[in-house]
Amino acid sequence: MKTRITELLGIEYPIIQGGMAWVAEHRLAAAVSEAGGLGIIGAASAPAEVVREEIRKAKKLTDKPVGVNIMLMNPNAPEVAKVILEEGVKVVTTGAGNPARFMKDFKDAGVKVIPVVASVAMAKMMERCGADAVVAEGTESGGHIGSATTMCLVPQVADAVGIPVVAAGGIGDGRGFAAALMLGAEAVQMGTRFIVAKESIVHQNYKDKVIKAKDIDSEVTGMSTGHPVRQIRNPMTREYLRLEKEGAGLEELESLTLGALRRAVMDGDTVNGTLMAGQIAGLVRKEQTCREMIEEIMREAQMLLERKADLRI
């Protein structure tokens, strides 16, 4: 399938894997790229040298392009940016902030820059400072979220910018993929479904929680802190929300979440860990390889689009 995104990135299918902290390491990223999508290594708060190792390991597993997601709020973002340039990474997605200060270096090196945005104004600003595309991420997404939904955000961003738009948040199968195209996107970014990929190193307990999650199991914590996070509800979220309701301070709240994602991903702690996942977890039903997932989504989308082509209004 050809869109401006597949052309821009040199990939076969317009499916990008989200740069999830701890989850998006080299094996998952390489498997997605090898299957024809774009795998992303999530730098999150990892030290720059760890990111360098991850990039090198991914390159050993695939010759296809693999991107890196930089979390801009992280104090070590400049070092990670330097590693990205040194290792010859060709695609960068950026989250949690404004990538303007790195834009010139990336552009000079031919790195494609795709900021994740949660509003129209931010998308416009990113286009102006040289972004090659934007990921319009709705509040259905897992992890750190904005407030507009994918359904509302994507068409508004698509109207506002000339660069291609990637839809993210709430997309997990061929139906979501086809819908994203209808909204004006030229690719999708998915995270939650890839958490349960066979190549994903996420602890089995966590994967089981995603697979068992129902539609209403998605919870947002941290509204009061200004940094809301979507995850699957568990004893930790209940405690967090109780404290939040009581007006607990940032320090007390952070004592619950500090290291909680690592506990969930690495140790399989589903009681005190943070099970970050999007609302679409309710739709994710089984472990598959990245190739099986991507091919299934593309097949389903193709079938749906053909079937609907006969519709007359």
Binding site: G97, N98, S119, A121, M122, K124, M125, R128, C129
Partner: protein
């Protein structure tokens, strides 16, 4: 200048009755987050017919800082 900036803040961020002062901090006093700030900057650009590069957003911490910034940019 201050009055015009304050009016834009009130209109763009739906804060019709906000008590806005020069020293008001967007984050601490007005609970304005980074997305709101993008919104505000786009509106300021239009009102004052200038361009505010997004790397300059970090220095716009208070209303006074915005006024000062606009003056330095030669906004009228």
């Amino acid at each position: 200048m201050f009055e015009r900036v304050a009016a834009i803040i009130r209109e763009q961020l739906n804060m019709e009755n906000a008590d806005i002062k020069m020293q008001s901090s967007f984050k601490e006093d007005m609970n304005v987050d980074s997305l709101d700030l993008f919104e505000l900057v786009m509106a300021l650009e239009e009102e004052f017919d200038i361009e505010i590069p997004s790397q300059d957003l970090e220095q716009l911490i208070t209303v006074g800082a915005v006024v000062e910034y606009l003056k330095n940019k030669g906004a009228e």
